[in-house]
Amino acid sequence: MNGSVPGGSPGAAGVRRGEALSRYAIDPAAHGREFCLARLADMLRVRRMEERCAQLYGEGKIRGFLHLYIGEEAVAAGVMPNLAPVDNVVATYREHGHALLRGVSMNAIMAEMYGKQEGCSRGRGGSMHLFDRATRFYGGNAIVGGGLPLAVGLALADTMLPRPGAVTVCFFGEGAVAEGAFHESMNLASLWQLPVLFVCENNLYAMGTALSRSEAEIDLTKKLAGYGIDTGHVNGMNVLAVHDAARQALAQVRESRRPFFLELHTYRFRAHSMFDPELYRDKAEVERWKTHGPIHTFTDKLKAAGLMTEADFQRLDAAAMAEVDAAVAFAEAGTWEPATQLGRDVTAP
């Protein structure tokens, strides 16, 4: 299935920067009201959580690096519903949304951002290192490309143990494609026939370096031909397109026990981190992409299709806000691990 992703509309594949993304609409009615509202709710939960994180950063409650996913929510919201509890998830340092939608509680995520011991990594990881054993969420990896060999190894373990049916989903940005770890991992995954779905979140910028300024070949899927890995690419701003593409790709991975590379074209609306003055891109470009925002375009589409009313939206949004309020309260009420426990968990007790 090189080059296209059956299950999406034919037009859903092959989206390129500069093309009008909205023409690759996928019919929401085919997915049903309940499903669509759940995806919208997922995106709203991530969006509202992160908007509050940015505010809390300004207040000094959250420190360190904070990389917001705002604008890219359709990717995690589209992929995650396709996963089973048995599956592994490996993500990057821009992983708040992935953690939340994999099932890590917003309370534990927010407490982690605060550095409280009630956080999902006991306050040892922070924003970039969310981990959760219960949901097989393997981070939270802040070395670009660092999660790729890990994903290969997790899938190798699943193959050898074996854990039949389990797949590993590895999220990474397009910047990781320049790393040696990417190429070594693709080769190993294909050579050893490992069940990994590699999800490339192509937001066009590796921190501040545009893809076209860092890659000799900007059609990333072409690189996979050299590894014999099937690929698909789809509009990452359309949650249903992402969902359908990921569903199809995962079905292939589960069936073939071979890797698949899925590229999702998306865009980061906010700065790379809270320290980024965004000197490398035009405001007009950001504004243009915002018109394709995954939440409002989906909202409009659902309303137009008669699947949702404004009251429905308000209800979902209020629920997301309430969850955020509760998470902040939980984090505020959280406790600081005594510094005397500093040496804990460096090695096993």
């Binding site: 592994n88 956080g119 999902c120 990594s121 006991r122 306050g123 040892r124 990881g125 290192h129 981990f131 959760d132 054993r133 393997y138 981070g139 939270g140 990896n141 070395i143 660092g146 790729l148 060999p149 890990l150 994903a151 290969v152 190894g153 997790l154 899938a155 190798l156 373990a157 699943d158 050898m160 143990l161 854990r163 040696g180 770890a181 070594e184 991992s185 080769n187 190993l188 050579l191 804990r344 968990d345 460096v346 090695t347 096993a348």
Partner: protein, 326 residues
């Protein structure tokens, strides 16, 4: 006691691990069909099959990282890297991921991987195959670093390393592979937490490890002929250091010489000396001393390579100077 070699002892340890635990597998460059670049894994492919004796491409970052992932996923991988020089291509996976993961995940995920590699000089392999960089790893919290210097340790360290819930690195000095001797059958169980006194003496403590142990023991023999009784301590575990054994000896001999094939600057020798100075300063009759590699990339020409290494004549001279000072 059957005669064996360091290489064969390592191989027997691998065979035992593969037999005892279905989660154990070996992977690395040329561990299978080639039989291992130092022939440690020779014959294991035929015995255990391609899945468990797994040849890898020349992708140190990829396959060491995959070993780390497989360990997190429930396997017990033994990853062989040809030499410590090549392991630098995997430094990211070892230091940024394996060592940090338990702590940065708040204790949720451990990485029970064993990573073995050859280290050290002495075979005229020049500056990209000869260095002793184990101290780089010994610097890092979250790792355990072992240096088997005897047949018993070559045979016995692997199994307990595999039982460790955290990443363990095993450094095998390339000049030890042909070391021959007797090993009891069944092989003795060894611990991987303590240093060992390899030769007793009252006049000076020589602390060393790995490929420098035979050199230190040879030097101790020479010193004995000259009336100086050297106590030789094999660190065995480079992280965490067993300073209790070292300090007990220093409090007896009041003089300490550290022999380390790493370069002097930032060396493990420096760490041992600092700890002795911190914890047993008033027990010392002379300043701590060390013999390390000269600060040059290891050269090819035999006489030049020998000039760079901490060989027995240098150890003897340093011990004599130490004995005569203060």
């Amino acid at each position: 006691m059957p005669a064996t070699s360091y290489r064969e002892a390592l191989r027997a340890a691998h065979r035992e691990a593969l037999q005892r635990d279905a989660r154990v597998f070996v992977m690395g460059e040329d561990v299978g069909r080639y039989g291992g670049s130092y022939a440690v894994t020779k014959g294991l492919l035929e015995e255990f099959g391609e899945a468990r004796v797994r040849d890898t491409p020349l992708s140190e970052l990829g396959f060491v990282g995959a070993g780390i992932g497989a360990a997190m996923g429930g396997m017990r991988p033994i990853v062989e890297v040809m030499t410590v020089n090549f392991s630098l291509l995997a430094l990211d996976a070892i230091v940024n991921t394996a060592a940090a993961l338990r702590h940065m995940s708040g204790g949720q995920f451990g990485v029970p991987v064993v990573i073995r590699m050859a280290t050290g000089a002495g075979r005229q392999l020049a500056a990209q195959h000869s260095h002793s960089l184990e101290v780089w790893y010994a610097h890092v919290p979250g790792l355990k670093v072992l240096a088997p210097a005897t047949l018993a340790d070559a045979r016995g360290m692997l199994w307990p390393a595999l039982q460790d819930p955290d990443p363990v690195l095993i450094f095998e000095h390339a000049q030890l592979y042909n070391l021959e001797g007797d090993l009891p059958d069944p092989a003795p169980v060894v611990d991987i937490s303590r240093a060992a006194v390899r030769r007793a003496g009252d006049d000076v403590t020589i602390v060393t490890y790995g490929g420098s142990l035979p050199r230190a023991l040879a030097a101790a023999g020479t010193l004995a002929e000259q009336g100086i009784a050297a106590e030789v301590i094999d660190l065995r575990v480079l992280r965490p250091l067993d300073m209790a054994t070292v300090l007990a000896s220093v409090r007896k001999t009041h003089r300490v010489l550290v022999v380390d094939e790493g370069w002097r600057t930032g060396s493990l020798a420096g760490e041992v000396m600092a700890r002795v100075a911190e914890e047993a300063f008033y027990d010392l009759d002379a300043p701590p001393a060390r013999v390390c590699s000269e600060e040059v990339p290891i050269p090819y020409a035999k006489h030049m390579e020998e000039a760079a290494l901490p060989l027995p004549p240098k150890i003897v001279a340093a011990a004599r100077a130490l004995r005569q000072s203060a």
